[in-house]
């Protein structure tokens, strides 16, 4: 598939999961194709980085489910901050990072929810009143019933894949990309190369054909976010991206480059 082929299978109003973590191995080629499309009104579910910032700045996000949004080396994501502080992001669900992961797992396993202590006593529950607590039938302990984060589609980026849908990460951390794929009706994987690394440990092959609907060959597909061992983060480009939050002309120029 091409990035535009993937976008042609997405639609306005959908719930879209985006893999990676902060400014790490984000599927930015796919996000850029989405950014250039007329798709809008999205519910984005992400351990957020520039994917969230760009889509928010373009006014495409109706609702954001997140545990954090950060560019890592630049701790606060400036476009996300503007969206929040000016009220242009209509709805958010702010979660504990662990609750977020359990939401993906619940969706993947076909459960309505998974129980956890994470979130109890915090204002995460106050600001997300749809999240219920339950009482353990065994101990009587109160627990958060983290609802499933069911995704219409997921976008993830791998170091390697094959055309059939086997996905391979070669970096330090798989993040939760496999769970994003399993929580989604359709999962689209971009990869630096469509040739699997036969020498890498078998544990690196975290996506299988049953989890993946389409594969895109996208060298440099994490764009300025890091994708080790293929490349590190482009800090200069990330800094330029961050600076566009204070300069509408620079932002307009940046959008032209997407």
């Amino acid at each position: 598939m091409t990035p535009d082929d993937v976008v042609s299978e997405l639609w306005s109003g959908m719930t879209l999961g985006i893999g990676g973590w902060g400014s790490r191995r984000k599927p930015m080629t796919l996000v850029r194709a989405l950014a250039k499309s007329d798709i809008t009104d999205l519910h984005v579910v992400s351990y957020g980085g520039p994917d969230v910032g760009i889509l928010c700045a373009l006014g495409k996000v109706r609702k954001l489910t997140f545990g954090f949004v950060s560019l890592d080396s630049i701790p606060l994501e400036p476009h996300f901050r503007i969206a929040r502080q000016t009220g242009t992001l209509p709805e958010i669900v702010e979660l504990d990072e662990g609750m977020f992961q359990l939401g993906l797992r619940a969706a993947a396993w076909g459960l309505d929810f998974l129980p956890t202590r994470a979130g109890l006593g915090s204002d995460v529950l106050k600001h997300a009143p749809h999240i219920q607590t339950i009482t353990s039938p065994y101990s009587g302990q109160a627990l958060v019933a983290m609802p499933a984060l069911k995704l219409d589609a997921a976008l993830v980026h791998m170091n390697r894949a094959d055309a059939r849908g086997v996905g391979q990460f070669l970096g330090p951390d798989p993040y939760f990309d496999d769970w994003f794929c399993m929580a989604a009706d359709k999962a689209y994987v971009s990869a630096e190369s469509l040739e699997l690394d036969a020498d890498a440990c078998i544990h690196s092959r975290i996506l299988h054909r049953g989890m993946v609907s389409g594969v895109v060959h996208a060298p440099g597909g994490a764009w300025f976010t890091e994708c080790p061992p293929d490349y590190e983060r482009d800090e200069d480009l990330q800094a330029r991206y961050a600076a566009t939050a204070k300069d509408p002309d620079a932002w307009a120029a940046f959008v032209q480059e997407l």
């Binding site: 701790p75 929040r84 502080q85 009220g87 979660l95 992961q101 109890l120 006593g121 600001h127």
Partner: protein, 232 residues
């Protein structure tokens, strides 16, 4: 003569005393130096990552794999002590790293709650605040990200600041001065705090200074005191 930064690094290290073979997750440069000091001296079993996904032992050798999914497993398994930062802390140790102002349309959007809710309910938590002011230590936080002693925290062990060491070992679970760094008065700490700090019975202890051996370790992890030197 030990600097304020040295004193703070030792105080941070002391929060991990007795922890044994658990994961010390130190968020930020000063907590990392302090935790490495503890690991290199009196708490050799502590486990730490390189800040990415690899556990690195006290000799700098690769020890084990710790991707984020295993971080959650470890923290839900309670084999962890985190030292986080805080944009706001109240007298019960409730912490905010999410946003300032109204959550629906914040004046200042920060990180989001990250792992703070789960950390604080599952295992010991400490905080590092490099600049102790009444803007950080507030009567009530705008959003409870990390939960305090009145909201079911597992254990808020210490708050280390540039002025002193604080704990919550009072009947009401409110913040108490445990020691003040050399040269700091109670009045000074109270002035920089937006709520009444509790006092221990008797004289307030003075935070201890590093030993020569500890200074050598600090120099290894923070050459030229590049990081410690910023603490005033």
């Amino acid at each position: 003569m030990a600097t304020r930064g040295d004193i703070c690094a030792v105080a941070i290290a002391e929060t991990f005393r007795g922890d044994g073979a658990i994961m010390a997750s130190a968020m930020g440069p000063m907590p990392k130096i302090g935790a490495r000091l503890a690991q290199a001296t009196f708490e050799p079993d502590l486990m730490m990552t390189d800040g990415i996904a690899t556990m690195i032992d006290g000799d700098g050798e690769v020890e084990a794999w710790m991707p984020f999914s295993k971080v959650f497993d470890t923290l839900w398994n309670a084999k962890r002590h985190v030292m986080m930062g805080a944009s706001q802390i109240d007298r019960f140790g409730n912490q905010n790293i999410s946003c300032l102002g109204d959550h629906a349309k914040p004046k200042v959007q920060l990180l989001g709650s990250r792992g703070a809710p789960g950390n604080t309910i599952c295992h010991p938590t400490s905080y590092w605040v490099g600049r102790h002011t009444a803007r950080v230590f507030v009567p009530s936080v705008d959003m409870v990200s990390g939960i305090g002693t009145n909201n079911g925290a597992y254990e808020i062990r210490r708050v280390i600041t540039n002025l002193g060491v604080f704990d919550f070992e009072t009947e009401s679970g409110t913040m108490r001065v445990r020691s003040l760094h050399p040269g700091v008065t109670f009045e000074e700490a109270q002035e920089a705090t937006g709520f009444a700090i509790e006092r221990p019975d008797g004289a307030i202890p003075v935070s201890r200074e590093p030993t020569d051996a500890e200074l050598t370790v600090l120099e290894r992890w923070d050459p030229g005191a590049a990081i410690r030197g910023r603490i005033a």
